[in-house]
């Protein structure tokens, strides 16, 4: 272990002991980055909490056919503009349209796709 990693570990341990909140995604935030960065855009952050206030799970996961596994859906801009996936609502009718690229493509560069953490549990990786 190098000095740098030792210090980083100690700082982390101290932060955890003192209850200092570390940056954590909201529970069930999904980062979608199969296509985005390859095509010069920020990754997409999909917040489940925001959407489930407005829609029940079944709307996206039954009517719109989003599979319930992060990474299992091939969500392309072509499909969205065609009214599929996000495009069923993000069409300037129910929600903002695809022209507002930055509102969805708002993730930190370099983040891998997947479902992210949250309060107390840090998400699926830590029960």
């Amino acid at each position: 272990m190098t000095l740098r990693t030792t210090i980083a570990t100690l700082v982390l341990a101290l932060a955890v002991c003192l209850g200092i909140p570390l940056a954590e995604a909201e529970y069930a935030d999904v980062v979608i980055n199969k296509q985005a960065e390859k095509n010069g855009m920020r990754p997409v952050v999909f917040p489940h909490w925001f959407h489930r206030i407005r829609f029940r799970c079944k709307v996206c996961h039954a009517e719109l056919d989003f599979k319930m596994r992060a990474g299992a859906n091939d969500v392309t801009m072509a499909a969205i503009i065609d009214g599929k996936f996000c495009g069923a609502c993000h069409n300037n009718d129910i929600a903002w349209s695809v022209e507002k690229c930055d509102l969805c493509h708002s993730g930190k560069p370099g983040l891998p796709s997947g479902i992210y953490g949250g309060h107390e549990t840090s998400g699926p990786g830590r029960w």
């Binding site: 909140p21 570390l22 940056a23 954590e24 995604a25 909201e26 529970y27 069930a28 935030d29 980062v31 920020r42 952050v45 917040p47 489940h48 909490w49 925001f50 489930r52 206030i53 407005r54 829609f55 029940r56 799970c57 079944k58 709307v59 996961h61 039954a62 009517e63 719109l64 319930m68 596994r69 069923a88 609502c89 129910i94 930055d102 509102l103 969805c104 493509h105 708002s106 993730g107 930190k108 560069p109 983040l111 479902i115 992210y116 949250g118 309060h119 107390e120 549990t121 998400g123 699926p124 029960w127």
Partner: protein
């Protein structure tokens, strides 16, 4: 002491610009709704989004749409299933009602679970790896640290279900939160 406990459960949602997944330099960081604004108004929980989503829906705090296509059939079922009848933990009560308020039958049947009770072997090993109940619980629904929200039915002849160090206000099913 009470005040401190109250403050501890007042909820703590990070601003979008500091949550570690959003780019603080993105224009969205200033425009998107903040979790604090939306979630602090809902029935509180100690874990997950710090919201009791099932209760928030039941109590009318939120009214999420059920369908986009007017022709979509909305299917709901009010039926409890008891599971894990022989294990060591308390019996699991699975409420179809709470689940079908959010989900369609096809989300679970028959890919994750066969429709006939007992036909699918359910295991915590699978669930902890994100299969079966773990597709949602631990990712988007309340997490797997909340054993007693599912294992909620005391076995005949056994003492009360919850270990004494656990506060039933936080760890029981169907509570209105802390």
């Amino acid at each position: 002491m009470l005040l401190a406990a109250g403050a501890a459960f007042a909820g703590s949602w990070l601003p979008i610009a500091k949550d570690g997944v959003h780019d603080p330099k993105s224009p969205a960081a200033k425009q998107l709704q903040q979790p604090q604004e939306a979630l602090s108004r809902l029935t509180p929980d100690t874990t997950g989004n710090q919201v009791r989503w099932v209760q928030a829906l039941e109590r009318g705090e939120i009214s999420p749409r059920e369908k986009l296509n007017p022709k979509t059939e909305i299917r709901k079922l009010d039926q409890d299933i008891l599971l894990n009848l022989k294990g060591g933990m308390p019996i699991v009560r699975f409420p179809h009602k709470a689940h079908t308020e959010w989900l369609d039958c096809s989300n679970c049947h028959d890919r994750l679970f066969k429709q006939q009770t007992g036909a699918t072997k359910i295991s915590m090993f699978e669930i902890l790896q994100g299969e079966q109940c773990g597709v949602c619980h631990g990712a988007v629904a309340f997490p797997l640290t909340e054993c007693y929200r599912c294992h909620s039915v005391t076995r005949p002849g056994k003492p009360a279900t919850m270990p004494t160090h656990m506060d039933p206000r936080f760890h029981s099913p169907g509570r209105l939160g802390p």
